[in-house]
Structure formats: C-alpha cells, structure tokens
Amino acid sequence: MAKKLLLGDQAIAQGALDAGLSGVYAYPGTPSTEITEYIQESPQGRGGEVHCRWCTNEKTAMETALGMSYAGKRALVCMKHVGMNVAADPFLNSAITGVNGGVVVLVADDPSMHSSQNEQDTRFYGKFAMIPVLEPSNQQEAYDMMSFAYELSEKIGEPVLMRVVTRMAHSRAVVETGEPKAQNELNAPERSQNWVLLPAIARRRYAALVEQQKEFDALSESSPFNVYTEGENHDMGVIACGIGYNYYMENYPQGSPYPVLKVSQYPLPKEIIRKMASECKSLLIVEDGQPFVEEQVRGVLPVECEIKGRLSGELPRMGELTPDNVKAALGMGSSQVFAASQNVVPRPPALCQGCGHRSVYEALNRIVAECEGARVFGDIGCYTLGALPPYKSINSCVDMGASITMAKGASDAGVFPAIAVIGDSTFTHSGMTGLLDAVNCNAPITVIISDNLTTAMTGGQDSAGTNKFEAICQGLGVDKEHLHVVNPLPQNMEEITRIMREEINYRGLSVIIPRRECIQTLSRKAKAKKK
C-alpha cells in the first residue's frame, strides 16, 4: 500500500494496472489523455507487459480492446466524450456480444467545453447500450472502482462504462493504492458463437441483455458506491451524482441537513429514489453534464414530489457545476466579497510563435484573398486556432475529418475553390476515408494536410501516420502531379504561395502537405537530449 498524489486520470490508470490490465487502447483527447500517458510511463508500460501504444482513432481502440477481451484478458478503452461518437458502433455492439475478459470503457466528459466542441453526456450512451455505468465522486473512488469494474464486467459478461468529467480527470488528490493483481491467462470465450452477430444470434443475445436489466438494477441498489444518508429535514431530498456530491457537501461542512443519495453507479437505484420521493416534499438533482437523471426521475406525468434541477432552472441548464451554482440552488446567498475587476480581458489561446501552422495560414490567406468565393473548411487540432484573429482563415470546424468531406460537399454544391485544412493526426483519425471519396470523384478541392509530426493540441503524442502521408495519399489515388510537400517557414513563403495558388485554382483534386515539426515537441526533445 502506498499513498500517492494523483490526478483523477492517473488514479484510474493506476487502478487499471493494479486490476491486472493487459492493454489500454486509446486516442488522445482532453481530458482523458493522461490515463494512457500514465500507463505508458509505468513500469508495466515501459516493460511491454501492458500494451499501451496510441490507436489511430477511438473506433480502432474499442475494437482492439474487444479482441483482447475475446482472448480472455482485461482491456481498458479511453477517450474524450466526442470520441464515443466515433467508437459508438463497436461500443453498442459490444453490449450485444458481451465480453470475456473484463472491458472498461472510460469516457471523460467536458461540461463547460473547456477544450471541446460540445458537452454531450456519456451516461446516455450507457443507457443506450443498456450496461452499467460508474461515475466516481473522487480520486480514491476512481482508483477503487477500477478493480470493482473489472470484476463486475467479468461477472455480468458485459463491458462497463465509466464516466468522469474534467474536474475529476484533472484534479489531484492523495490516493491510497492496493496490491496489484496478476493479468488474466489467455482463455477463449466459452460460447464463441455469441461473437458472431448474425441476426438470429444477435436477437438471442439482445434478449439476454434485456433479461439482465433486472440484475443491473439490483446491483445498483446494493452498490457500495451508491450511498444513502438520512437527514433531519424532509422538505427536500438530494440526489447528487459523481462529483456533484462534493459540491453539495462543500456547502454543508457539518453534514447534510437533508436526506442525500450519492449516485455513482447506474442504472439509477430506483427503489431508493422512490422511497426518497415518498418521504420528501421535493427532490433536488445535482448532476454534472446534461439532465440525465432529472429527466428519468421527472418523466412526463405529474408527480406529488417537486423535482428540482437543471430543467426547472434551480441549476443552470448548461455548463459545469460549481460549489457556487449548487449553493444558489440550495437557496443560500453568495459568499463573494470582491467584484470582478474592470481591468481584466479574456486571454484566448493562440498558435505558438514559430509554429508552422502560422506560415500555412499566412500563405493561404493571400490566395483566398485573390479568389472570390473561396471557402476554407477547417478541422480539429491546434490549427483550429487559425479561426481566431489575426488569421481568421477557416470557415468551419465540426468534427475530426469533416474538413475534407465538407469541402467536397460544398464543391459538389458549386463552391469553388473549396479548401480543406486538416492536421496529420486528424487525417489518419478520420480524414483518409473522406479523401478516397474525393479521389473517386476527382473533386475540385485542395486538401492541406498541415503536418507537424505530432498530435500537438493534446500535448504531443505520437501521430499514427508520421512519414507515411505521401504514400497514403498516392495509395488512395491522389495524382502525383498534384501532391506537394512544402516546408512552412517564413523564408519559403514565395514557394508555398505559388504552389497553393496553382493547386487551389486547379479544377481537380490536389493535396499539399506543409511539413515542419511542432516547436513544442522540438524544444522538449532538445531539453531531453541535454539531460
């Protein structure tokens, strides 16, 4: 046993290692990235006992984990919330196949969108797939839950979804760790037919999953992580989910005056909630993210017990919970002493000085200014910051890979020139398939793959396609004559703008790859060398 100061993400990683993990499969994404990084840095990761290389995207990660589970070993899949949209197909179907070795799918949500394009709540995916969901309220619980989750997963033969939010993932606390367990032995599934989802088998499997729901309900009622505490004042009862429980308790250092149910395992423990509703005049639902629990508790028919939360306006409809908005929902005044300063302005993030993406946008802006009607479809990564001043270069950013496909769609509709700007990691994540669509139509678009040799936005992880981009493009059928590599340095501006001008005006598909290493990874490597 040891005491360590760990981020929530690191506690999860250590918990998984100590639960006998054999492989972590993940694509980086804030706020989930540090889980895989911790495992990569661990003795088991460095020694090669636990597979921990980054995957190309969340779908490949989920499927690889499923393969490891098929072979009897324990696997962890990590992603940010929007990654689940990419992994959704294998994720939902893994509930139908079931699992052999334990599978935990760890998804980190980002309410308030600190580093994301939406604040979707992953608990809906758990309900959708009809499997148990765990939501730790603190770092120690996150650690303890990992062993619990793997045992649960193997016991019920289903993957277990674990949901955390930014403030849990990126907050440190002291965690007491336990004894590590050995990895599972290789062991084929008992009924390997279950893994062949032909309709006849899938129907049988789905019926079994439906049948299992009663068991999952019962497990939630008795879960050690769902804790009911009686309170004197029954004017209100409180259902506090995950870290929402902490914000609630912050306001009652001497203990809660109201009955309170901490929820950290779903499906909702319905019996306890029904009992609370019959004993309390109202129920306040404190949950980070979307009103997932509130909607279920509220339903559409009138109830005697008043339900309060994000839908009724007691808590804000969007954005993350804070001790302050929970305090307001409890009808207490604010403790703020000083007003906000008038001498403060927002400080948005920006591309680093010396970043290659800067030269790309400088050149692109020159050409776009020459071409009336030009539209630039952006993508997700550091280069998305090109949407902000001083560049204001891109007209869209939706989801990973959408630059190429949207440019093609706009071009199909008659936009010319239509230009896509995509990063190297985003291209291999979800851009290659769209490029094939464009190749097959010889769509008159220009795709700029701004290659900084890394996955920069999330902190500089290895990028799956490094050194392979020309080959990938040619392999997909891009014409060699219209495939260029340039070095985005200010002194090469002349050459870059010339090539961009030619290719953007060309009425067929072209690809330009500006390639220069990210200055952050470059300086980190230089520092490491000095040591």
Partner: protein, 190 residues
Amino acid sequence: MKTDIILAGVGGQGILSIATIIGHAALNEGLYIKQAEVHGMSQRGGDVQSNLRISSDPIASDLIPLGGADVIIAMEPMEALRYLPYLSEEGWIITSSTPFVNIPNYPDQQAIMEELKSRKNVKLLDLDAMGKEHSMPKAVNMMLLGAAADALALGFDKLQNSIRTVFGAKGEQIVEMNIKALTLGRECVK
C-alpha cells in the same frame, strides 16, 4: 488548518510546478489535498489557473467557492486580478508585476498596477528584474512561491524539502538554484 490557494498565470509560465511543490509539501505533512488543474487548449498561451486546497480535514469540492481563497499566487498581474471574485475578505494576492502581453487588447498596464497597489494585502514582485539580476530567469516561479510561503501556513523548510524531492532527478545544480530562488523570493517581501 485549511488553506485555499488559486494559482494563476498564462499557459507555459510554470504555475503547475508551483502547485506540484506545494502539493508535495502537503502530502509529506499528511494533509488532505485537492488540486484542480487546467490542461488542454488554454495551455497554448491562454489564461490558466489551478485551484489548490490543503487542509487537515477532508475536503469536499475540487473547486474553491467564490470568496473562499486565502491567497492568489499569480505569475502575471492581470491574471491575478481575474480571480478577485474568489478572494476572501482578508485574502492575500502575491503576484509578479511583469505583464505578459500576448493579446492586442491588453488593458492599460498602469491601471492594473494602480488597482493592485490600492488593495490591501498585496505583494508585488518584479520577477523579470529579479530573474535577470540573479541570472535565473527559469526559476522565477520559485521566487514567487518563496514570497508566498508565509501565506501558505506550511513552513518554509517544508517547501525546501519538497523542491529537493520534486527536482531531485534533475540534479543538484537545479535543486540548489530553485532553493536559492525560493529564499530570494521570501527575503524580498520581508
């Protein structure tokens, strides 16, 4: 004992190292700790902060409530002011006086200085000058921590030990430089 600290700065200024040193010192003391950090997009030159709570009793929330912070430690003066609504009535601000201007609409620098100087419980450090004077521009965050040491209720020697542990792997020279920076920081506010 309970101290709620807001660490503030611009991405890349090293506020997380300050948090790590305090965190380790608190861990060694067997205290409860919660330290919420900002990772991700804002680290690219945006405003970053860390909520650091240390206490002899269990801590509920990872975030400090409005009006709850005992001290704001900032690597940049406008960033210090950003968190005023979180400062408690008797709370302290310990901040670098050197503006980091990476936005076109950075407010009037004099107005920022005047606002800080007009407040009670403020310590301003010219970290830029101090870093140059002692030829340790990379250790100015430890100077700031040294200046804040008394407000943390942790003990100066505890912070020194923590530097030894945390920077230990980087060699004796780095350890000594950071301890010297810590000491200089404390002396300049005495």
